[in-house]
Amino acid sequence: MVKERKIVCRCEDLTEEEIIHAIEEGYDNLESLKRYTGATTGACQGKGCLMHIIRILSQKTGKSPEEIGVTTQRPPVNPVPLYVLSEGGESE
């Protein structure tokens, strides 16, 4: 039998069930949940999954998405190869 798996984060291969489990273990704010599960930290850096994670957190904790907030966006916006970076930065 194939168990229904609702994938919420493709990069880290996380299911809705796993996210809910983590919230129940006490990782019930966005910053902790993201670090504990790895959601939003994969190749897409949250572009694909952040909204799902916020929805699940909201449903489980009763907090509004506004209360939950969003995680800090860190540079770079898109992945940049090191050889490109190493040619930047005039200082030194």
Binding site: P76, V80, P81, L82, Y83, S86, G88, G89, S91, E92
Partner: protein
């Protein structure tokens, strides 16, 4: 005995854990969430190959504790002991490595000097022309800092410690001696208040009326996309301050050691990314095509003479537990926390005398 600990980083939590085991009633206050401080932002390099002799016994003890703690608290710290390599890119730094290794060996650290060709056996794609000499210690490696914090927090709670996150300590109440703290609008009575606030320690100390002049350092760091297991040891270039290692998730994590700053800031800069990428790809040219996914920064503190500040102050009941220093905080915290717990409960601990706040 009631103890209030300010800061839920690796120092505050280690101290709390061992205090609770000695029977104290402990509350830990964290202004934000667990992992907000340097303990949640660092690169997890763990080695007794340190250039400050006072810290070496604590590093050796912490290595033992890092072996024991995961079973004690039932949480895997993902400590991968594949060695630690320090490389020097100048003749004077090569001399420094030699001097440091001599001192380390005298104190029981099994480190040794190795030639670039031997480094290449440990780091297959190393460009041997980019370095002069190296030192190596096999009983070292990379720990994942997040499970360290989560695991210690779990151990704390299971021993009765209350951890209050999103609760900043706004006031330390002192009347003669310490009476307690005010946090989140409430008063908490305490016989002992411990300042384990990392980069914020100077500010926290001020609240108790105690002068503390730790240096504040900001350090930037980044990760690349994940690749299959490739880089075994932790690699630290002491000349450029550039370090890199591979995380449990396969990312190459790397940064440049901290610079002193006036104000606390965790901004990321392009200048860092460029400087890091340049040196990292000189050391291992094969990394050139790897993409950087994310960069961030953390802040930590160091005692003004370079050593941690741990122990009783002139205000009765007010205890410092900060200044852990550049690339040594994760290494020494478990052992320091354990010794500090003994100091607090017994009133004295000769093992900590070099770190006494009263030395200044």
């Amino acid at each position: 005995m009631r103890v209030a600990i300010i800061g839920a980083g690796v120092m505050g939590l280690s101290t709390a854990y061992y205090l609770a085991k000695l029977g104290a009633e402990v509350t830990v206050f964290e202004q934000k969430y667990l992992l907000y401080g340097a303990s949640g932002r660092n690169s997890g390099g763990i080695t007794p190959m340190i250039d400050k002799k006072e810290l070496i016994p604590f590093a050796l003890k912490s290595l033992e504790l890092y072996d024991k703690l995961p079973a004690e608290v039932d949480f895997n710290f993902l400590f991968r002991k594949d060695g630690y390599v320090k490389v020097a890119a100048s003749d004077s730094d090569a001399e420094k490595l030699k001097r440091d290794v001599r001192v380390q060996n005298e104190l029981g650290v099994k480190s040794r000097i190795i030639e670039p060709s031997e480094v290449k056996e440990l780091v297959p794609d190393l460009n041997t022309d980019s370095i002069v000499l190296a030192s190596y210690c096999s009983e070292s490696g990379v720990i994942f800092p997040w499970p360290v914090v989560w695991g210690l927090a779990k151990g704390c709670r299971e021993n009765g410690v209350e951890i209050k996150d999103q609760t900043a300590v706004d006031e330390i109440v002192v009347e003669g001696g310490v009476k307690g703290v005010r946090a989140g609008g409430e008063f908490y009575k305490a016989d002992i208040v411990v300042n384990a606030a990392g980069a914020w320690s100077n500010k926290v100390s001020e609240k108790a009326g105690v002068k503390l002049e730790n240096k504040i350092l900001k350090e930037e760091i980044c990760v690349t996309e994940s690749i299959k297991p490739y880089l075994d040891p932790y690699l630290y270039d002491i000349t450029y301050g550039v370090y890199l290692s591979q995380s449990a998730r396969g990312e190459i994590v790397g940064g440049i050691t901290g610079r002193e700053v006036e104000e606390i800031s965790t901004d990321s800069t392009l200048e860092f990314a460029a400087r890091y990428a340049k040196r990292a790809t000189q050391l291992i040219p094969k990394l050139k095509g790897l993409a950087m996914l994310r960069q961030w920064a953390g802040v930590y503190d160091e005692g003004k003479d370079g050593l941690p500040v741990v122990g009783f102050t002139e205000v009765d009941g007010f205890v410092q537990a900060n200044g852990l220093g550049k690339h040594t905080g994760m290494i020494v915290a478990p052992a320091l926390g354990r010794e500090l717990a003994k100091l607090i409960v017994k009133g004295d601990n000769p093992n900590l005398k070099e770190f006494s706040p009263r030395r200044f």
